[in-house]
């Protein structure tokens, strides 16, 4: 059987660098992973973990730097090339084929015969599955499997193709606890048989429970590595940077309720939120912290009517107008604005000019476009928001910071509630400060803001209260004044939730 070939690989990365435009996603990263070990890669979103793993598995090629397998320099040109070298990657979303039978999916990647030998393949599939105690029927269909089983299928497939090193990207998201335990047992068994394993995660406890060594990435750089016993505090510090002393925040007086969320249940693709309660008062800023995909985006979308809750209700204003089940357009009419993170994909229309955007967002009426009026409007907004662009500039020609300013300029006035995903992601300091000044101006006039950010400093600096999301669990609102970066980091990584619940019970 192919899986029983020589199973040992020493992986070494030397000075891997990869840039996307001005962004250095990986900056001179070097480390080595010996065979028979499980190496954890920790880091927050955008730290460069996925880029690095995609380089190793042939999705990207590095701008500079070398990959050495068993001491030999190799060039990995494609994912197929990677598996030929013995590197298999298990993606966060399984790259399988739901409409196929398990056995068809299993043999898809194999090279060689024109006509697949089902008898042999089924036998080998069963042998492999037995070895790890997986119970998957090769004749069932992939879309009948749970996420955990699909993962198991992927592992079997990669082993069968001759993988000697496995990369797992966030493998514990969306699988049940018993499946997670089985996965960990499998990985440990594989490592004991000589397999090299790279385990990418942002969950501290998983990494601590499984890995022989952990490397931490931050902003594209390798900031450090640690051997067991792991020190959670030190890992958090490496992931998020040193704690920065914050200026004390002026305690604002908040007005009446703007948004009242009553026991809301939400269901996303791989995430569920149950029984969320929250009251947002006029002028208040709520920060949503958590790793990407922990439920924040789902929640924020539901606040704008972009996703519908399966239980509970959303009410707007003092008079508790029930908006549950209403569309986004109705939320918008009632003074709710939504600013997505993917500016050019979800918020702006590439190919149209700034003037045209202002026409669209203002909802100007009539048959023929009043160009003069539109241009005057565009000019005044461009000036008011200090956008570096002309009325006839297309939005994609603007820099990220100016696109974000344009998004703010497109918001109508007055507004009750502004929902923002990553208000300053990828922006320079000047734009960041400018954006928040503009948002704070709105707050002073009674608008509430709920925002998502991966930047803990931003969360702590600008929020009045913070909700932490972890795998669909939502913390009670925490006063930002009482939080530290370290505590927040631990909560985001899934630590300390028991004490949080105890505190909530006593409060």
């Amino acid at each position: 059987m192919r899986g029983r070939k020589k199973v040992a690989m020493h992986i070494e990365l030397r000075g891997i660098t990869k840039c996307f435009g001005a962004l250095r996603a990986n900056d001179d990263i070097s480390f080595a992973v010996p065979s028979s070990s499980i190496h954890g890669i920790l880091g927050e979103n955008g730290a460069g973990k996925s880029t690095l793993m995609k380089i190793l598995s042939g999705f990207y090629s590095p701008d500079s730097g070398d990959i050495l397998l068993d001491g030999k320099k190799v060039r990995i040109a494609s994912p197929a090339d990677a598996i030929r070298h013995g590197i298999g990657m298990l993606h966060q979303d399984p790259l399988d084929f739901p409409p196929l039978k398990v056995i068809d999916d299993f043999i898809l990647g194999s090279r060689g015969n024109l006509i697949p030998n089902y008898k042999n393949a089924t036998r080998e599939f069963r042998e492999l599955a037995d070895r790890f105690g997986f119970s998957i029927d090769p004749e069932s269909y992939v879309d009948m499997l749970t996420v955990g089983e699909r993962q198991q299928l992927e592992i079997l497939r990669l082993l069968w193709l001759g993988a000697r090193a496995l990369i797992l990207d966030e493998p514990t998201t969306g699988i049940s606890l018993p499946q997670k335990e089985k996965l960990f047992a499998t990985l440990k068994k594989l490592a004991s048989e000589g397999m090299t394993i790279l385990f990418v995660s942002h969950k501290l406890e998983d990494v601590e429970a499984l890995c022989n060594r952990v490397s931490v990435l931050r902003q594209g750089k390798l900031v450090g590595s640690m051997d067991p016993p792991f020190e959670t505090g030190a890992l958090v510090e490496m992931m998020f940077g040193k704690e920065i002393a914050l200026e004390p925040k002026a305690q604002l007086r908040f007005g009446s309720n703007v948004l009242h969320i009553k026991h809301v249940d939400l269901e996303g693709i791989r995430i569920q939120i149950k029984g969320l309660d929250l009251q947002v008062r006029a002028g208040e800023v709520i920060g949503l912290a958590g790793m990407e995909g922990s439920g924040q985006t789902l929640f924020l979308g539901a606040c704008a009517g972009l996703a519908q809750p399966v239980g509970g209700s959303f009410c707007l204003d003092e008079d508790e107008k029930d908006m549950t089940g209403r569309t986004y357009h109705e939320f918008r009419k009632h003074g709710v604005a939504y600013l997505p993170a993917a500016r050019l994909e979800q918020a702006l229309v590439p190919g149209l000019t700034l003037t045209e955007h202002f026409i669209l967002s203002e909802g100007m009426k009539g048959l023929f476009i009043d160009r003069k009026k539109a241009e005057a409007l565009a000019k005044s907004r461009i000036q008011a928001f200090n956008i570096k662009g002309r009325p006839d500039s297309t939005v994609e020609s603007l820099s990220g910071g100016n696109q974000q300013r344009a998004l703010l300029a497109l918001m109508r006035d007055p507004l009750k509630l502004i929902l923002v995903e990553h208000p300053t992601r990828g922006l320079d300091i000047e734009s960041t400060i400018y954006i928040w000044n503009k948002l704070k101006e709105r707050c002073a006039r009674g608008t509430s803001i709920i925002f998502i950010s991966a930047d803990l400093d931003e969360i702590l600096k600008y929020s009045d209260r913070v909700l932490v999301f972890f795998a669909g669990r939502v913390s009670p609102p925490l006063e930002a004044r009482t939080l530290s970066v370290e505590r927040l980091g631990r909560l985001i990584g899934g630590k300390d939730w028991e004490t949080l619940e105890m505190e909530a019970a006593h409060a």
């Binding site: 939504y338 229309v349 045209e356 026409i359 669209l360 967002s361 476009i369």
Partner: protein, 350 residues
């Protein structure tokens, strides 16, 4: 390479050259004299006032179909069902004509009502494709193709069933209308109908003004370029998609009505004459810009009419025009693809 007018023109000229080379190759394979063939096409399209009027007769429905398609392309939809929409326009027109034939009303009034009925038929058929897309999740290409077959079947059934000629049903269609109910023909011409020419010209002007100058057109553009952002900006996207289907269906319906009232004066099995598909090609060739639609549609109509006499003089099939049109569109689109790839590369390098 720079991104400017000159390089764009260069690629377009190259595309025309390549299309000619390929077509010439096809002609060699068919053991024909390419230059003779091209000469006869030019003569066949421009040789006399009579053939020029034939080109114009062909131009009208093609330009109408193209105009409608520009609207659906603007909102990002591939309305391949336009063939069926033309057919339904023709069917509704014929139906209206049959109802009013014996009424003794003013012929002008009857013709106006018949064209309006055609608009209604095209619009309904288009909105059916739109509803399938919006509420049924059926891609407009598949829905449109399916509806095309249904429209053809319906047409054939009518011609051979309820509307068949007295005595024996025939592939030559229903019984022609009385001459008084034909679209008025220009003096000194055998087929040219000024009224339909005016309709086509007004049509393309309306579409141009709609896309370039109205709030409606701007919102269509926004939905077409990025439906998600358009939704966030407050545009009800599905309503705009449905409206664009309806507008395109109206234009297709007029094209069908023109075919019935001004060209064939009856309903025939192939009443849409492939103008829908040809319109798709014209729209692609002009890069979905309304300003170029009229001349390019005229060129395509000239190719169609010019190649009609090829079978007679050169024993070649008249589908040669289709070969030339098809390869032309292919090479223009290929040129755009190659060009944007090269532009991307030079951008990365710099």
């Amino acid at each position: 390479m720079r991104d400017n007018r000159a390089t764009r023109l260069l690629f377009q000229v190259a595309a025309i050259l390549f299309a000619l080379i390929v077509t010439t190759g096809v002609l060699f394979l068919a053991k024909a004299q390419p230059f003779a063939a091209y000469k006869y096409i030019v003569l066949g399209a421009l040789g006399s006032w009579d053939v020029v009027t034939n080109v114009l007769v062909s131009w009208v429905p093609l330009l109408l179909a193209t105009s409608g398609l520009l609207v659906t392309f603007t909102v990002g939809l591939w309305n391949i069902g336009i063939e069926g929409q033309i057919t339904l326009g023709a069917i509704f027109t014929t139906w209206a004509m049959r109802l009013m034939e014996q009424s003794g009303w003013n012929p002008t009034l009857i013709l106006i009502l018949a064209v309006l009925a055609g608009m209604l038929g095209g619009a309904l058929w288009a909105m059916l494709a739109g509803a399938l897309k919006t509420f049924g999740g059926v891609n407009e290409i598949f829905g449109g193709l399916g509806l095309n077959f249904v429209a053809t079947a319906l047409n054939i059934w009518l011609i051979f069933g309820p509307w068949k000629r007295p005595g024996v049903a025939s592939m030559s269609g229903t019984i022609p209308f009385d001459r008084s109910l034909w679209m008025p023909i220009a003096q000194g011409s055998s087929r040219l109908t000024p009224a339909t020419l005016v309709m086509a010209i007004i049509g393309i002007l309306v579409v141009y003004a709609m896309i370039e100058g109205t709030y409606f057109g701007l919102r269509l553009k926004a939905v077409g370029k990025n439906a998600r952002s358009a939704h966030i900006l407050g545009i009800p996207t599905w309503q705009y998609m449905m409206s664009s289907f309806a507008v395109c269906g109206i234009f297709a319906g007029v094209a069908g009505a023109v075919q019935v009232t001004a060209v064939y004066h009856r309903l025939i099995p192939s009443i849409s004459s492939g103008y829908g598909y040809l319109g798709l090609m014209v729209a692609m060739l002009v890069g979905y810009r309304a300003s170029l639609a009229a001349p390019v549609a005229l060129f395509f109509a000239a190719l169609n009419v010019g190649s009609i006499q090829l079978p007679i003089v050169l024993k070649l099939d008249s589908s040669l025009a289709g070969v030339l049109q098809g390869t032309l569109v292919l090479f223009v689109i290929l040129g755009q693809g190659v060009r944007s790839r090269i532009l991307k590369k030079t951008k990365v390098k710099s």
